[in-house]
């Protein structure tokens, strides 16, 4: 216990020097330092630097019902040849997570050809995406003498949610950070949740507006007369048309089936019109450009509505065929609105409308306040504990204070090494560790004191003190480490930061209190031939 060969001393000092180098960027700006030195300081959590934390959920039912809707369209187009006179004519009816298909007419014998319909439906039922078991996307079964139920198996639901989650993550990133420069973090959580952390963003409402739009972009031909609009407003709608409104255009009747859709758009960006007012430019892909050209060629003189989430953005008149697929929307936008709309259009349509579950916003001023509070509390805590230890144990207390400082440095070094995030509760964890780290020293010192009181020599007492206290120190610290690990695994957000600093603090404090203090003590005893510690 009392032997410190040169290699051991070098090792301990090496760890400390490494700690200082790693922790240094937290104290001074290292951007001009030589290349081999680390430059990364610990990451500050959102509660210390300010920003927005948003947790959102993709509603499972909505994902499934929108997939069923698509399937219903597939069913309709696959049976497009069948007519009202065909015995297998379908009437799909959506009911949340399931869809009921009714056969419209019995055959000559008075039976509904359900078996035949099941066979034909099975052919258009695709396998689960990315699934290996060969299961089909939809469970299709007979539900009665004339009806068929389409449901979704749990394996298929998992695949659908996974797909929706991936798509939504991509869309969220493209909408929030169209240029790919912002320092945002997106983390999936569970099967259908996403956590968005945007440091430095002051306005949660803007983010929520950006993310709560469906982003369903369509180009629909307008065919409406004032009389038709009036009758549609009275509730009599021309078949195959929808009544939509727009802030610039007022109510218009547009064709239900769009000519060009959002997936035909290649890029979108904010630009300026001739009068230097913000507008949205976008370019269609080859397929979209062709459709756009054909529509404009065949419908000269009509209005062509650009519709986003069922609101008419603008409805310019078609004067001539437009080739090339470059389109723009003009209107009275602010630059920011035009940028956000361009981001929404470029990102594409959300698989389902997200719901916001949990929102935490901290301004950067409050973050600075918190850093200041935390720093002040840490300095005062450290000073008080140091004074207490020196008053209680004198010289030995001084050794403990040195190792306490080494401990704080090592905590910062460890945090920087693993790129952990420091939060306000994390600072509390460091302060708590300062208080608890001396426990190991106290256990040893008390042991030495007892041994000295029993009449043993200093060397034997110190030897016995460290030897006997070791098991207790390990036992006692393992239990706190358990608590920290559980907190890290199950906790969330800032509390996780507390668990991280507490865990690192426990590990480093055992090293500093048990190894570093011992080395200092022995070095002192050898140098000054100490006979006894004044305790």
């Amino acid at each position: 216990m009392l032997q410190f060969p040169a290699w051991k001393v070098l090792l301990v000092l090496g760890v400390l020097v490494w700690g200082v180098i790693m922790a240094l960027p937290n104290a001074v700006n290292m951007s001009n330092a030589p290349g081999f030195l680390p430059k990364n300081s610990v990451n500050l959590g959102l509660d210390l630097r300010g920003g927005v934390y948003l947790e959102m959920e993709i509603p499972a039912t909505e994902v499934i019902s929108s997939r069923l809707e698509v399937f219903a369209r597939d069913v309709r187009s696959a049976f497009a040849r069948t007519s009202e006179r065909d015995p297998i004519f379908f009437q799909p009816e959506l009911r949340g997570r399931t869809m009921l298909i009714k056969l419209s007419r019995p055959d000559a014998d008075g039976n509904f050809p359900v078996e035949d319909a099941l066979r034909r439906l099975d052919r258009i039922n695709s396998p689960i995406e990315g699934g290996l078991g060969g299961g089909k996307t939809f469970d299709i079964s007979r539900a009665g003498p004339d009806s068929i139920l389409v449901g979704v198996s749990s394996a298929s639901e998992t695949a659908m949610l996974q797909d929706a989650l991936n798509k939504t993550m991509t869309i969220v990133r493209r909408r929030v950070d169209p240029d790919g420069v912002a320092e945002i973090s997106l983390t999936p959580s569970g099967s259908n949740r996403i956590v968005l952390e945007a440091p430095g963003e002051p306005d949660p409402e803007r983010l929520k507006d950006l993310l709560s739009r469906d982003g369903r972009m369509t180009f629909n031909l307008v065919e409406s007369s004032p009389a038709e609009i009036a009758s549609a407003q009275a509730g009599v709608l021309k078949p195959g048309f929808r009544l939509l409104e727009g802030p610039e255009t007022g109510p218009l009747l547009v064709r239900e089936i769009p000519e060009v859709v959002g997936s035909d758009i290649a890029t979108a960006s904010q630009g300026n019109d001739e009068a230097n007012r913000p507008q949205i430019n976008f370019r269609l892909n080859a397929n979209g450009a062709r459709k756009f050209y054909e529509t404009t060629r065949n419908n000269s003189g009509k209005l062509f509505a650009i519709v986003l989430d069922d609101v008419i953005m603008s409805a310019p008149r078609i004067n001539e065929p437009i080739p090339g697929g470059n389109v723009r929307i003009t209107g009275s936008f602010t630059i920011e609105q035009a940028q956000d709309l361009a981001a929404i259009i470029a990102a594409g349509e959300m698989p389902a409308k997200v719901q916001f579950l949990d929102q935490r916003v901290v301004s950067s001023t409050l973050g600075e306040d918190s850093i200041e509070s935390g720093f002040r509390a840490a300095i005062v805590g450290l000073a008080l504990v140091a004074v207490f230890m020196v008053l209680a144990y004198g010289l030995q207390g001084m050794f403990a204070v040195f190792s306490l400082m080494a401990n704080v440095i090592l905590i910062f070094a460890a945090l920087s090494l693993v790129g952990a995030t420091l939060t306000l509760p994390g600072i509390a964890g460091i302060i708590l560790t300062i208080g608890m780290a001396v426990d190991a020293n106290v256990l040893v010192f008390e042991r030495i004191r007892e041994e000295q009181n029993n009449g043993r020599s200093l060397w034997t007492s110190v030897q016995a003190g460290y030897e006997r206290a070791l098991v207790t120190i390990l036992d006692a610290n393992v239990t706190t480490l358990f608590a920290a690990v559980i907190l890290y695994t199950l906790g969330s957000g800032p509390v996780k930061g507390f668990a991280v600093t507490l865990a690192f603090g426990i590990v480093t404090s055992v090293f500093t209190a048990f190894v570093f203090t011992r080395m200092l003590t022995i070095f002192w005893m050898k140098t000054f031939k100490t006979k006894s510690f004044a305790v």
Binding site: E55, S363, T365, S373, G374, V380, M436
Partner: protein, 328 residues
């Protein structure tokens, strides 16, 4: 140095009063449970859902002004942080009539899901309008929906449960099950007592409180383990000594350490209470109280229960219980 004024060998007959201690502890636990059942806990937004908004207090923005100019049932208080006074506004789901026609058009299910977020938006907009504020003036704006708050509470409770089981297994592995029962009894005592204090003082109970409770649990077991270690050691040395005396000697010998470590930890946490700002206040108050009763319970609950269990359950003198055998 000051430690030399600490008596060299205290001989406090702790175990003579063990029944008093156990009865006191049980009474305190009953009182805590009773308090939680009658007064309840002051759940923060993490667990209750709803919103909390913090503004910097200025000449215009004051607690009474916010109360009088913003409609809806809001709880407005003041708090202090490093750089001045804050106005803290709390609210749950506001009256739907305030939330605009768009909200009222939603289905009942959607209303339940979105009321919290819509209330938050309403208050933020009202504050911005009434006091001419920008986003930067809103220091904090947390809004937790009903789904997440329920989950966070459940997860917190699971964390406490898992921690307790892990501690039990660890002590049982290092000592014996009767020590494990003693250590866990002390841990539950400390956790329940701390929750009781939160109910009594109606301190805000939130995620950081769970963190504090887990730390207290760790500290409590830490404290008990130090005493247990000493009991084992003394038992090995003096095989014929009655168990009561063994425990008394062990607690007396570790007494100075118990007080010193408790002291330094409380000093450090006290610095957080005074300088750490409002976010950490509840957490650090909980920790101080937890350390105080944790120190007490490691002697009067953990050790006392080990003494009782060793004697009663094995129907043998305590000397022969496996707890006192040397570890291999």
């Amino acid at each position: 140095m000051l430690i030399k004024y600490w008596p060299k060998e205290t001989k406090i007959p702790f175990m003579r009063y063990r029944y008093v201690g156990v009865v006191l502890s049980v009474l305190m636990m009953i009182a805590s449970v009773y308090l939680v059942m009658t007064r309840g806990l002051n759940l923060g937004v993490d667990f209750a859902g709803g919103s909390v908004i913090e503004l910097r207090q200025t000449e215009q923005v004051t607690v009474p002004e916010v109360r009088s100019r913003i409609q809806g049932s809001l709880t407005v208080n003041s708090a202090t942080n490093a750089n001045g006074e804050l106005v803290v506004i709390r609210f749950g789901d506001l009256d739907p009539s305030l939330l605009g026609p768009e909200f009222q058009a939603l289905s009942d299910e959607d209303k339940a899901d979105r009321a919290s977020a819509a209330s938050n938006t309403y208050v933020v907009n009202a504050l911005k309008q009434e006091f001419n504020l920008t986003d930067a003036d809103i220091l904090r704006n947390d809004s937790v929906g009903p789904k997440v708050s329920g989950e966070l509470f459940r997860e917190g409770m699971i964390a406490l449960g898992v921690a307790t089981i892990m501690m039990f297994l660890y002590i049982a592995f290092r000592y014996t099950w009767s020590y494990a029962v003693g250590g866990i009894a002390a841990l539950v005592h400390d956790a329940v007592g701390t929750i009781g204090l939160f109910s009594l003082l109606q301190l805000e109970f939130d995620l950081t409180t769970i963190a504090a409770l887990l730390t207290i649990i760790g500290y409590s077991v830490n404290d008990s383990v130090v005493v247990f270690d000493r009991i084992r050691e003394i038992r090995r040395k003096y095989k014929q000594m009655p168990a009561t005396e063994v425990i008394d000697i062990a607690t007396n010998q570790t007494l100075s350490r118990t007080f010193l470590t408790g002291g330094t930890t409380i000093i450090a946490v006290l610095a957080i209470v005074i300088f750490g700002g409002p976010v950490l206040q509840g957490m650090s108050v909980a920790m101080i109280w937890g350390i105080v009763i944790g120190t007490y319970s490691s002697i009067y609950f953990a050790a006392a229960i080990v003494l009782m269990l060793g004697v009663d359950i094995n129907r043998k003198p305590v000397e022969d219980t496996p707890g006192f055998e040397a570890m291999p």
